[in-house]
Amino acid sequence: MATKRILVAEDEAHILLLIQRMLESAGYAIRATMNGGEALRLAQQEHPDLILLDIMLPEQNGLQICRNIKSEPDAPPIILISALGQQMDVEAGLAAGADDYIIKPFSPRSLIEHVERALRS
């Protein structure tokens, strides 16, 4: 089976590195960006199997990107990853079309579980 490609957009360098390392050690190929606008461009050009999006991103926030990508046919699954952990934040994320929502901080195990579940669906 081909290696699954995951696009990760996160503007905090350390957290981006963390997610990247966690996913790489689980065998995924990672495309990383710290910019919202670039995340949207990469999503449209490279058609990743899964997108992990931070909400607070420069240029375009995660919710906007999510709505944009999900408005197109055959959109990949999207998981929002955010420190905005209130119930209304989660609901806003799911309303924007996200398939799942991870609240920071998270453990490597739970990140991998969420990713595997999203890729299976």
Binding site: L18, L84, K104, S107
Partner: protein, 489 residues
């Protein structure tokens, strides 16, 4: 002193003066002036008004009573006939009755002035409605809030006030509603909060209204009071926003601390020197403690600002309990505690918000883990309670049945009776919890969430033997009914 003969027909000049004095009395002229005019007219030496019980001043030859509590005391020149003077004087008695009552009225209105000044000083907008439905009193703050001039409503029927409020586009219809709803209600005390725009300012008004009775029990009227709570609400909102912001900003660095220490422990565990492994485990545990703390503070802020959005649904309680215990498995292992689940078979579905209930059970279990000496026993029980006889004696009396009761029992250090009293108060910490750590919010959150569901929470504990925390949750709506088997014929 002589008896007073009745004079059948007053003299014309006496009647003229009577009219003059009546007009002066009605206009509020001082009694002393009226007495002086009367004294000159009658040709007496002096005339005074004094309490009826007073000893007559020296030289008094005539006392005229009663004038409510007072009497007229006269000294006469030797040539004046006392009986004839008394007869003439009797014509003027009504003038002085009027004058003394008026002077008492002056006292009443002074009292009223003082009363209104006190009300004005409270800075609240106050409207007093008389039992007849007339606006009896309005403070100037009401004019500020509504823009309706006081003189347009004071002394007018409440319908005019309602009409004027309704005509103001910036006033909330709630203000109209509350005046309409409570105008003829002399029983209920009510209160609430609404927002208006007045003076181009957005205001939050807190209001209350109650009927007022005098000490003697007669109805004085209904008071409507409005207080500007804009600033308080702003402070509340800023506090909530501040906590949310701080918690967000703390989560970001914590994600790295927790994430990388977890990553080291999971991916490089076998290559680590045992010391390094232990140090990193300590970092990871403490990162988790900070995260728990942030979550607790966020929750309590949300509870305080009434922003907990409970989403109850039909849930299986055992499923929630198992989800939580799975999640905490590693903590049981680390502390070498054994967990026993004793969940009654075929429990009815319950009506709860799954996330909140999971949090309640998590908080109770983590407490049990913390306060039980290793290795200990922790048991989670769940029972269907159909009648109040099935409730344990320590359950609160207001417990509603049927319900499902959950008990988290430990073989821990126990809680003293004094601590049991205060345990559910926020920021309360026992001697032991100070040592173990925590800021005393866990049980306050448990209590708030359980009560939001309509349940109760209580504790039974013996020092040195262990504690049992119990809480109840309501059944899912359809589960409240039980079909009884059809009677056999």
């Amino acid at each position: 002193m002589d008896a007073i003969p009745i004079q059948p027909q007053p003299a014309r000049e006496d009647l003229q003066l009577f009219h003059t004095l009546s007009v002066l009395a009605a206009a509020g002229h001082p009694i002393a002036e009226l007495l002086q005019l009367l004294g000159q007219h009658l040709g007496v030496s002096s005339i005074d008004i004094l309490p009826a019980s007073a000893a007559p001043p020296p030289g008094t030859r005539l006392v005229m009573a009663p004038l409510s509590h007072n009497a007229l005391y006269l000294t006469l020149p030797p040539d004046l006939d006392a009986a004839a003077t008394a007869a003439r004087l009797s014509v003027f008695i009504p003038v002085f009755t009027l004058a003394t009552t008026r002077s008492q009225n002056v006292d009443v209105s002074e009292e009223r002035d003082r009363f209104e000044a006190v009300l004005e000083a409270t800075n609240d907008a106050i409207v007093l409605l008389t039992p007849a439905g007339i606006v009896g009193l309005v403070t100037s703050q009401f004019e500020t809030f509504t823009g309706i001039p006081r003189h347009q409503i004071t002394g007018h029927p409440v319908s005019k006030l309602i009409h004027l409020i309704a005509a103001q586009p910036n006033l909330n219809t709630q203000m109209v509603n509350l005046f309409q709803a409570l105008t003829d209600n002399w029983i209920e005390s009510l209160g609430g909060e609404f927002e208006i725009t007045s003076d181009f300012q957005h205001r939050v008004l807190v209001w209350y209204s109650l009927p007022v009775y005098s000490q003697g029990g007669s109805l004085v009227g209904r008071v409507f009071a409005f207080r500007d709570a804009t600033h308080e609400r702003d402070v509340d909102r800023m506090q909530t926003e501040f906590v949310a912001l701080v918690s967000h900003e703390l989560r970001t660095p914590l994600t790295s601390v927790k994430g990388f220490s977890d990553l080291i422990l999971e991916s490089h565990f076998s290559t680590l020197h045992p010391d390094v492994r232990e140090y990193i485990e300590i970092i990871a545990i403490n990162a988790n403690r900070i995260i728990d703390l942030i979550n607790d503070i966020l929750d309590i802020t949300r509870i305080d600002s009434d922003r907990v959005d409970l989403k109850p649904c039909r849930c299986s309680l055992p499923a929630i309990i198992e989800q939580v215990t799975n999640h905490l498995e590693y903590r049981f292992k680390r502390h070498r505690h054994t967990l026993l689940l004793d969940l009654q078979a075929e429990l009815p579905l319950v009506w709860v918000d799954q996330t909140r209930l999971a949090q309640v059970i998590t908080n109770l279990l983590t407490n049990a883990i913390k306060y039980t000496l290793e290795p200990g026993h922790i048991t989670v029980r769940a029972r269907f309670i159909q009648t109040s006889e099935q409730l344990p004696p320590e359950a609160p009396r207001n417990q509603i049945v049927p319900c499902v009761m959950v008990m988290v029992e430990d073989s821990g250090i126990g809680i003293s009776p004094e601590d049991q009293q205060n345990l559910f108060k926020r920021f309360y910490r026992t001697e032991k919890s100070r040592l173990i750590g925590g800021i005393g919010l866990g049980l306050a959150i448990v209590k708030a969430f359980v009560e939001m569901h309509g349940g109760c929470v209580w504790v039974k504990s013996t020092v040195g033997q262990g504690s049992c925390f119990s809480f109840s949750v309501p059944l899912a709506p359809q589960e409240s009914y039980r079909l009884l088997p059809e009677p056999e014929l």
